[in-house]
């Protein structure tokens, strides 16, 4: 299908995980896609996709890659699994840098050159309800949610801006979360049982929503947080069925 034919999209964090899923999905919908990451171009990136080696926390570097876009997806993000008391200044820079300053840098640079368009920020269910030992990450995603609403209000009707709030998606980040558990296998089974749809999400699930929000079908959607979590946060955390 070609729901994004003729559109040009910039997706941050396209090396792996959700970002890569969105890059691949956008290409299959006919978009011209540019993506970026802090390292060199990944060998397995489709040839038609343009790559920038870019640290989104560096505003001057972001300014170097700005060009008119129809779609901007701020996906690049970092998590550190620590409480507030454990978090160091370096952890603050590692998380708040990309997740907050990076999203801000990208939006500030691209909004003036986007004639009309759709900005899609990757928020998180963790910005609405707290994951344990993820203090800075949780707070950084709440920042993304607030920034999303502000952009929609200030820059509509020229720009639509929405956030997708993924739940637990099968990526390296999810594995890192389970590595914290005493028994990662048991934790994984318990977590799946808390999902009404009976599984974790895949990057393709998030990409499907990103396509819709990027497309003209979503012309009336702006300023919202769209949660895709297989029903997990619709249920109370106290799930008596699991006792």
């Amino acid at each position: 299908m070609t729901r994004l034919a003729g559109k040009h999209a910039f997706v941050t964090g396209g090396r792996q995980g959700i970002g890569r899923g969105i890059v691949v999905a956008f290409v299959s919908e006919g978009a011209a896609v540019t993506t970026c990451g802090r390292g060199p171009r990944p060998d397995d990136l489709p040839e038609t996709v343009a790559w920038h080696t870019l640290d989104v926390t560096d505003a001057a570097a972001v300014a170097q890659v700005v060009q008119p876009m129809d779609i901007l997806v701020n996906n690049a993000g970092v998590q550190v699994e620590k409480t507030v008391a454990e978090s160091t200044d370096a952890d603050w820079e590692a998380v708040i840098g990309p997740n907050c300053r990076g999203v801000f840098n990208m939006c500030r640079a691209f909004i003036p050159v986007m004639k009309r368009g759709s900005i899609i920020n990757i928020g998180s269910i963790s910005g609405q309800v707290a994951d344990p030992s993820m203090a800075l990450y949780n707070a950084s995603k709440a920042f993304v949610h607030g920034l999303t609403r502000s952009i929609a209000v200030d820059h509509g009707p020229r720009i639509r801006c929405n956030a997708i709030c993924p739940g637990w998606i099968n990526t390296g980040m999810l594995e890192a979360g389970f590595d914290l558990a005493k028994d990662p296998g048991a934790a994984r089974n318990d977590a799946i049982a808390r999902h009404p749809v009976g599984r974790f999400g895949e990057p393709e699930d998030i990409a499907a929503m990103a396509i819709w929000l990027a497309s003209d079908e979503a012309a009336f959607a702006s300023g919202q947080l769209f949660t895709l979590d297989g029903g997990m946060t619709a249920a109370s955390p106290l799930n008596p069925g699991l006792f």
């Binding site: 509509g156 009707p157 699930d205 979503a218 619709a234």
Partner: protein, 264 residues
């Protein structure tokens, strides 16, 4: 190839403003569509096919059971249920009679309960075929924040939101996804009624003045069309939304992202 090829859908309120747009969109996407409503006003045809009309009073359990039996006989399963039937009483609680209150809940809440309850056997058949079945309820942005003079309506939509989450938890393991669409202002007969209703009709301003004021308060500088809502309903009904469940999907042109209130 449509996104709903081979799927069977029933849309309550299928002859109304938003329900009609949903039926037309589903037909275009290749679904078999049952348009359920109190009466079959207007044509059931669209350029992409014809909906099958089902006479349905969502407040009546026998009527709901008869409608589901009809769908079962004709199609054997139900992949998509859209609970779009709804009414709006434009009054404060002081002005609202008990009868009006009960009628609001009967249509908006009990109707959603009854059609969902009696759709489950047919939806399990659709889900067991490998794909997920999808129930899409109609909440409203009014279930989160209130408009003046819409007390019973706001309360019914809050109830639909909670019911949506509960149904998602209970029936997700059976392969049935449940979500609610929460529209903001959409150009329908219901919105027309709001303009002429007590809440704003007494201002003495022309309808066009009121419509422009309403456009201006949206970050997207427009209110929605039934097609805007049908676009999201179609996505939630499709297999692309296979990981979407238990959520309330606000689509309001940015209206409720801001603190600013309507100034009619």
């Amino acid at each position: 190839m449509g996104t709903l090829e081979g799927k069977v859908a029933l849309v309550t309120g299928g002859r109304g403003g938003i329900g009609r747009a949903i039926c037309d969109r589903f037909l275009r996407e290749g679904a078999t569509v049952f348009a359920a409503d109190l009466s079959a006003a207007g044509s059931l045809s669209s350029p992409d096919g014809e909906s099958r009309f089902v006479q349905l009073d969502v407040t009546s359990e026998p009527s709901v059971q008869a409608a589901m039996a009809h769908v079962g006989d004709e199609a054997g399963q139900l992949d998509i249920l859209v609970n779009a039937a709804g009414i709006e009483i434009e009054k404060t609680i002081e002005e609202t009679s008990l009868e009006e209150w009960n009628h609001s809940f009967a249509v908006n809440v009990t109707g959603t309960f009854l059609t969902s309850k009696h759709s489950l056997p047919l939806m399990r058949k659709a889900a067991s075929a490998g794909a997920s079945a999808s129930i899409i309820n109609f909440g409203s942005y009014d279930g989160f924040i209130a408009d003046p003079g819409l007390a019973a309506y706001c309360a019914t939509k809050g109830a639909v939101h909670a019911l949506t989450r509960a149904m998602a938890c209970d029936h997700g393991p059976e392969g049935i996804r449940v979500n609610a669409i929460c529209p903001g202002y959409v150009d329908t007969p219901m919105m027309q009624s709001f303009f002429s209703g007590d809440a704003v009709g007494g201002t003495g301003k022309s309808e066009e003045t009121l419509r422009q004021a309403m456009r201006d308060v949206h970050p997207m500088r427009t209110y929605g069309t039934p097609d805007d809502i049908a676009n999201l309903v179609n996505w939630l009904a499709s297999d692309e939304a296979r990981y979407a469940s238990g959520q309330l999907w606000v689509i309001d042109g940015g209206l409720s992202a801001q603190v600013q209130q309507m100034r009619l």
